[in-house]
Symmetry: C2
Amino acid sequence: MNIYDIAKLAGVSIATVSRVVNDSPRVSEKTKQKVRAVMEENNYTPNVFARGLGLDSMKTIGIVCPDVSDAYMASAVSFLEHRLREYDYDCILYCSGNEQKKKEKALELVMKKRIDALVLVGSTYAGEGEKGDSVDYIINAAEKIPVFLINGKLEGENVYSVYSTDEVAAYDAVSGLIESGRRRILFLSDSHSFSANRKLEGYERALREHGLPVLGELKLYAKNQVHYVRDILLARRALVFDAVFATDDGMAVGAVKYAHARGMEIPKDLAVIGYNNSELSVCCEPELTTVDNTGEKLCNITVDNMMKVLKGEEVPREVPVKCVLVKRCTTDF
Amino acid sequence: MNIYDIAKLAGVSIATVSRVVNDSPRVSEKTKQKVRAVMEENNYTPNVFARGLGLDSMKTIGIVCPDVSDAYMASAVSFLEHRLREYDYDCILYCSGNEQKKKEKALELVMKKRIDALVLVGSTYAGEGEKGDSVDYIINAAEKIPVFLINGKLEGENVYSVYSTDEVAAYDAVSGLIESGRRRILFLSDSHSFSANRKLEGYERALREHGLPVLGELKLYAKNQVHYVRDILLARRALVFDAVFATDDGMAVGAVKYAHARGMEIPKDLAVIGYNNSELSVCCEPELTTVDNTGEKLCNITVDNMMKVLKGEEVPREVPVKCVLVKRCTTDF
DNA sequence: ATGAAAGCGCTAACAT
DNA sequence: ATGTTAGCGCTTTCAT
């Protein structure tokens, strides 16, 4: 059942059917009714490929993230999908992993789909992520369609960044730790992404500005898995620390587990701060003080901006968004 | 840059270019080389819309789930995406919510995209889900393309179900509880989906077969949120129970929190079993005994079967998959 | 092995 | 207000 069939059945031309489908004002109400009736009866659906071919757009947005099974990514994708749906855009999803080659491959594939815009979720796609990573592949994509980074930052024509101010959030969190008497604060991270690096900078600045040394032994890289972190911490019996600042809740919970295993009291013997305010943070005992990076806000701003850009309007290239520290029970300030 | 440009530059016809693109054997190696070179130089990419129009397929699979921000859905989507990518299929994602109207709308929209197959993740799309729900919209979709249910079960032409045997898993878990001396076991659930109902059946069968009464007061419906569950449990001071079987880890952790709040010892005073073996289950204290519903397995079987169906091969309409009970610290059997 | 040409189903400019 | 028609870029049959 195609547009010709409908036209024939309704006794009009295909142009009129097309106009009805697109709700053009240049069709009389009467014929509109008639044509609509015929379409209903035959439950006709315009062929999206043909339409796409003519308009060179299928109203779809590409969403690329390292891995949707990560809680932060998943919630971001969920927010994006809902907001984009409001505007009748579909989402095509691509999980790229974190490796440079795979990220490049992901963008190459997703760009072939002639999407209308591209969203890159996670700071792995940022300009100053893992060292050695090039961002040319992103810049190239931006030559064709607008590219939106969620929690990433990259300067370039047609690329728009919305990100949390992780440096400040980390600075504030670690400062709180120091001001409440902590002296040896462990920095626990699972990546060298743009965002993780900003957190590290905030951590170091807090130490420096409070006259504390920045110690290499107090920077630990691990996996974002509860038991993994607990175990590597237990394995380093020589390592002394009275607080932990983790770049993700999973690692922070690992630190809490470590404290339990060693019979340490939280927050007395060990203070812990996590990141992301995920459901994990209210599962452990005591419950985690954590940084809420306001993922929903980032997504909303991104979608709003995207719709403007697609209409040809101007929007800021860069939007920093403040995080908020959610104080629960693993800290005493 | 389209197929005509390439043809001109390579000094061949568009038919030849098309053949090269599709790696047809009916082109001489020599011209293949030449054409490929020209394509590379101009980094030509065939227009997917035009191709879709001709072939009536764009090699995309529709994935619909209630909400990707849910950990179980997110991991399923992640598995599916990866496996489908192997076969050069793209994924278009739709989060439908749980309401009948929205689910119908979701399928209607996703079907318009002329996807090659449809995956429905979560038992909300099953045949015996929320009462009053019709499954006609799924049956209708299956008239056009194969439909695959993950953790759902529905009989119908062209629909394929892969699901965990939740009834048995629940039966085994609750039986363990009873045999270790529990007498008043609270059933805690957040939905009336197909899967939740199977769990309830297993729970009731275990009680019955052990000569215990099935009590309405011991079936509680809540949200899958830690604090929410803790609070409603605390609010029902009159409700007495010595064990909890929850249909999702979040609620189980809520029960653990409740025990803490009331100064009860786990598992001595209260035994708890969760479901899904999510990261949450290793965050709480003590760590959760939980049912692993092997989501990855369901996804793998689904993708394998889908590829066969798309090739016209036969596959079983229904594949039940066993769950495994992961015993940790909130039970004493 | 290669080319010419007819669709695929739609949109939009142009004509009436 | 409605119809006619030329693309959009590809695949595929039919010639050669």
